[in-house]
């Protein structure tokens, strides 16, 4: 329905820079997720796109049109908020009809569209009720119905699933994707939950401290995080970071410090020495790429001590202690071990991400 483009958009609150020269483009009919921790500027960005806040600088385009000076109600958008934002003294019916009534649509049309929207979200039986009589999940559906009733060209959703319980959230994720694909309306969705971003987005934009940390398809972002922030933010349990340096001796290049060392293949070693010569490095390894054994393994393996064991049923997370640091490894569910026991740890060479410690950017 519409392409959204931001060009150099900034927003300041006093001296606090909430959004810092943000530029990105959302494609037509795309499900686009802005992901980041609280206070990273993601909601501010959404509010700027909605026209609820004015950017300090920069331009916002809907297709080829600059919309900076167009007020929110004229941008043909619909929003859903974390708190659902239902008018408390209006019935469900009146709530859904509200945006249409304000636009003075004919009564018959209003009635028909409200009915359609309610049926689409399976809340037709709730129409005469008032918001305070509804459960969280029902309110959520009313908020969604109100958003789709006008058939806007852009959906803006601000953490819509944060206020409903965990079980329902999983269910609603699938339902939201289906709804978006069905309506084919460009959607920008803000969340702090990386699982939502991974599962729902066509593309995800990761924000940190007002800046774009990375943008891309969810799996690409997961596999090739551009920097330490994204690496640490996406994935559960979070990625392990081993501070290390690179040393070459006897034609062999190793990454390591006092407690461990791993061999680096020559191509990678070359990239690292080109991009970050003589730097302190950080080796990032996802817990899934650490294997643990009670006996010494072939290849590079190093000794560590069991710190804690967290059985999850389907798998077991093992916390290992290396020097003063604790790292997490995912093992099979039947792994068993005693605390303080000595174990051997191996890093899967395919799961290694190397970052420059100072710039925090990915090197290889």
């Amino acid at each position: 329905m519409v392409r959204v483009r931001l060009e150099g958009v900034s927003k300041k609150y006093g001296s606090f820079l909430a959004v810092d020269k943000s530029s990105f483009e959302v494609d037509d009919k795309e499900f686009f997720i802005i992901l980041g921790p609280s206070g990273c500027g993601k909601s501010t960005t959404l509010n700027i796109i909605a026209g609820l806040e004015e950017p300090a600088e920069g331009k916002i385009y809907f297709d080829e049109q600059v919309v900076n000076d167009i007020p929110p109600e004229k941008r043909d958008i619909a929003m859903v908020f974390q708190s659902f934002a239902l008018y408390p003294n209006l019935s469900v019916n009146e709530n859904i009809a509200f945006p249409l009534k304000i636009r003075k649509r004919p009564k018959e049309e209003v009635r028909r569209k409200v009915q359609e929207a309610a049926e689409k979200l399976r809340i037709a039986h709730l129409l005469p009720k008032r918001p305070y009589q509804l459960s969280g999940g029902e309110r959520q559906r009313v908020a969604l119905a109100r958003a789709i009733v006008r058939e806007p060209k852009l959906f803006l959703l601000d953490e819509p699933l944060s206020n409903i319980d965990a079980k329902l959230r999983v269910h609603m994720r699938a339902e939201l994707i289906a709804l978006q694909k069905d309506l084919k309306i460009t959607t920008i969705y803000v969340t702090h939950d990386q699982v939502e971003a991974m599962t729902m987005a066509d593309r995800v934009l990761v924000m940190n401290q007002g800046k774009i940390a990375q943008m891309g398809k969810p799996l690409d972002v997961f596999r090739k995080p551009a920097n330490l922030f994204v690496a640490g933010f996406i994935g559960t349990p979070p990625m392990n970071f081993f501070p290390c340096t690179m040393k070459t001796s006897g034609g062999k290049t190793v990454l390591g410090d006092t407690y461990f060392s791993v061999t680096l293949d020559p191509a990678r070693a070359r990239t690292v020495s080109e991009k970050a010569p003589n730097s302190e490095l950080v080796l990032g390894v996802r817990p899934q790429h650490l294997s643990i054994s009670t006996s010494k393994m072939d290849g590079d393996s190093f000794a560590a001590e069991i710190f804690a064991v967290e059985p999850l049923g389907t798998e077991t997370i093992v916390d290992i202690k290396l020097g003063d640091n604790v790292y997490k490894a995912v093992t099979s569910a039947n792994f068993s071990s005693a605390i303080r026991e000595k174990v051997w740890v191996q890093i899967d060479p395919n799961g290694m991400q190397i970052f420059d410690k100072k710039t925090e950017m990915a090197v290889a």
């Binding site: 609820l52 109600e73 908020f81 708190s83 239902l86 408390p88 209006l90 509200f98 945006p99 304000i102």
Partner: protein
């Protein structure tokens, strides 16, 4: 809750409640008893029991009837003005802007001034010889020569304005507290929906301040309905009884005419009127819910 706590709580609370019960109860009982007698201030020892005579006389007393109408007008004007002023002030205080802290201090100042002094301030402000109001209007060229504002037609309105000046600040802080419970998201939603400022107030703001407003209306009615001191210090009930409210009239019965019994009977009428009005508010503001 263990036994010691219950005991300690009992020791801390009950004596005080007993005293409060007495200080509230004594005047009620005493004033009801007085209202059934012809007690005169100059000779408290000798009085006659007169039954409902004082109440019957009150109904037939032209001056009391007139003062009751003055009272109703005063309560209506004050309540309307306080409601509007306190909501307006609260809406402004709820905005974020530089100097909002200072504005809060300024706003609350009139509340801390005594009702007595407020009346004096009002009298000075409107003084026909040297009041600032005349000074400003003359300097602006809006009036020629000084005008007397406290006339029989306008005096009550002006007293109501100054009474509003005195009590609106506290009420506005009360509304402000409830305004802060309006969810930010709902404001945003209404803007995306394109609701006009009026609709936004009606559907977003009002539902959240409704209860606070009810309390404001009740407290203002109670206060305005029993206001006496401001009439004394601003207009002495005049000119010609124009600002003589029912409470002021009952006060005059007591102080000048020295008729304790009659004054007490009149104050009971006022009390009943205030309770009835309060109940009406509760009915009007809560019936929608059911």
């Amino acid at each position: 809750m263990n036994l010691t706590e219950q005991k300690i709580a009992f020791v801390l609370v009950v004596p005080l409640i007993a005293v409060a019960f007495f200080v509230n109860g004594y005047p009620i009982v005493q004033s009801f008893w007085l209202s059934l007698t012809d007690t005169n201030l100059s000779d408290l020892a000798h009085y006659n029991f007169v039954g409902a005579d004082n109440y019957v006389n009150g109904l037939n007393d032209f001056f009391f009837q007139r003062s009751a109408i003055v009272s109703i007008r005063f309560v209506a004007e004050t309540t309307a003005m306080v409601a509007v002023a306190s909501i307006a002030i609260a809406l402004v205080l709820n905005e974020k802007f530089r100097g909002s802290g200072l504005l809060k201090v300024i706003v609350i100042v009139p509340w801390a001034i005594s009702e007595y002094a407020v009346g004096i301030l009002g009298g000075f402000f409107l003084n026909a010889n040297f009041g600032l109001w005349n000074g400003v209007l003359t300097n602006l060229g809006l009036i020629k020569g000084n005008t007397n504002w406290l006339t029989a037609q306008m005096a009550l309105d002006w007293v109501a304005i100054f009474y509003t000046w005195n009590i609106a600040p506290l009420m506005s802080f009360f509304i402000l507290t409830s305004l802060q419970t309006v969810p930010e998201d709902l404001y945003k939603m209404s803007r995306v929906d394109g609701a006009s400022p009026f609709r936004r107030f009606r559907y977003v703001t009002f539902p959240f301040i409704r209860y606070a407003l009810l309390i404001v209306l009740v407290l203002t009615t109670m206060a305005a309905g029993s206001a006496t001191v401001i009439m004394y210090s601003m207009t002495l009930g005049g000119p010609g009884g124009a600002t003589q409210t029912a409470t002021y009239y009952s006060f005059v019965q007591f102080l000048q005419k020295r008729q304790l019994g009659y004054g007490a009977a009149l104050s009971w009428y006022i009390f009943i009127f205030l309770i009835a009005t309060t109940m009406l508010y509760f009915y009007l503001l809560t019936r929608r819910r059911k």
